[in-house]
Symmetry: C2
Subunit: 316 residues, 2 copies
């Protein structure tokens, strides 16, 4: 009886040891992202958590750990914490700012961790193994193409800009280069800082100033919400199109519902964090080569394909 | 008793129906690739089958089906067969030839299938949703950088070319642009058509013609095998480096073993088919955005990282 108990205890011990060994053998992917400080980053957090859930369920040998940080300084501390407590096989990072995160990420890379950078590049691109981002020029260009087509090649437009950044510059450049030489004319273009309230006020100014406007390009979905409210309150009927950009679920829902004023959308999807996580897993689990660069297109979201871009449970 | 039996039978019936419904609900990813007609494509077949095994085990809702074809005409028939018997949610294709496969792939796209194209592009790039390829310029450039460094910035080289194609042109361009302005001098450069025997003979010619050679760039691993044999048979000791390209397992093994003449390798990995399959799964399973372009780097494979590129069970 004693011996049988002992064997059972020994067997249990082996199981526990095996369990621990397995936990230690798991490949760890840390995902470091900004906290949900506005709609788009809230989407990033949602999709990172979804990816972790899906990957952890699908691959028993992998553990995806998601950590959000409300500032660049806190993201630097988070990286120290994540890498102090265990060896990271991979780090997927959307840096809060390029300057402050470059050296801390380099330190993790130097310890032998695979580095995937999403959206905002580091100041030293040699640190990243994989870089993945959207295409802001295409966001502007594809929106412009649709407007040219829909308005029959001519019309009076007003445009809203975001915050002066490379992102905003590229979107505007893609748009302006595409309408060049057509009958589409930009009556006015001003900054509203990716802010719904500012966009509402700016659109009210535009409406007061221009008795005829065919279309508005809000360049961003938060700003589009302000624009739509201003148009609605004005009671004006001359405005045929008001388009945004980014893939906010409220706007994608309009596209699904066949909204007349906002029949299309262009994505700069926060779900790109998920693509980066899946690709990093492909490298760790399947030894698939992923070192390189991914440039995501910004295909027009129409009623036909909108469901692919719609996440009713996401905050964004 | 009768009623209990009936309930049990009804329950079993529901289970069977549920099982059938699940099988029908599986998202199908067809993978269409050339048959294993030489080393590199044999690697493609191996990695596609590995990916199918891994994905089918990890994601119960997905079925990856791999089909190999020994010619462009047979790949066209294979596509017809694959899409006739069931709805394809996605097609991952490495086209045998661009011209013959473009229209058949377009027909599948038009039926609503997601299209991932690997390595060889179609003649109409608007058909693909995702395009993934390696970087042949980097294969040449990164090899050249290593040679410049290893030979101290000067030396006499001989180079072998493959088959006159864009692939070969890009590799050679990457190499020649990088050595420009250094003390590395190409004594001779001739075609050996990615063939081991031809490379053996060409290298014998080079050895007869040039009494002093510091390094050989074979540009491809099949050709490198011929070159190494010719050098070995000659008994010459002036040749310090003989490098290839592609990531053949025999050459990666040399790197792992610290071979003096072939201490590094550059990948153009057949395992890129696996990356394409994982990314397509990310889109189908996780709604992750993958429409766009992936350009894989050709980082130098050294003794430090060679295990990541080594597949002892692969034919290549």
């Amino acid at each position: 009886m004693f011996s049988r108990k002992w064997i059972a205890a020994a067997a249990l011990g082996s199981l526990l040891l095996a369990g621990q060994a397995m936990a230690q053998d798991k490949k760890v992917i840390a995902v470091s992202i900004p906290a949900a400080d506005h709609g788009w980053t809230a989407g990033v957090v949602y999709h990172a958590q979804q990816a972790a859930k899906e990957i952890n369920a699908a691959f028993p040998g992998v553990e995806v750990v998601v950590k959000t940080s409300p500032s660049a300084a806190e993201q630097v501390s988070a990286l120290e914490d994540l890498s102090a407590s265990r060896k990271l096989d991979a780090l997927v990072i959307l840096p809060y700012s390029s300057e402050e995160l470059t050296q801390p990420v380099k330190a993790i890379k130097d310890a032998g961790t695979f580095i995937t950078v999403v959206d905002r590049g580091l100041t030293d691109s040699s640190i990243q193994d994989l870089y993945l981002a959207g295409d802001n020029i295409a966001v502007g260009a594809n929106t412009a193409k649709f407007m040219i087509d829909k308005l029959g090649g001519k019309g009076d437009l007003v445009v809203l800009r975001g915050i002066p950044t490379v992102i905003d510059d590229e979107r505007i450049k893609g748009f302006q280069d595409t309408i060049k030489g057509t009958g589409l004319k930009v009556l006015d273009i001003q900054y509203a800082h990716w802010n719904s309230d500012e966009a509402f006020k700016l659109m009210q100014d535009y409406l007061a100033k221009y008795p005829h406007i065919d279309a508005v390009w809000a360049n961003d979905d938060d700003m589009l919400l302000g624009v739509l409210e201003a148009v609605k309150q004005s009671g004006r009927t001359d405005i045929k199109l008001a388009l945004g950009g980014n893939g906010m679920k409220d706007i994608v829902k309009k596209v699904i519902d066949g909204d007349a004023m906002t029949p299309v959308e262009t994505p700069y999807p926060p779900s790109m964090i998920k693509t980066a996580i899946y690709m990093t897993v492909a490298n760790l689990v399947g030894q698939a080569p992923v070192r390189g660069t991914v440039k995501l297109n910004a295909p027009l979201i129409t009623q036909a394909n909108a469901k692919e871009y719609y996440f009713p449970d996401s905050p964004f």
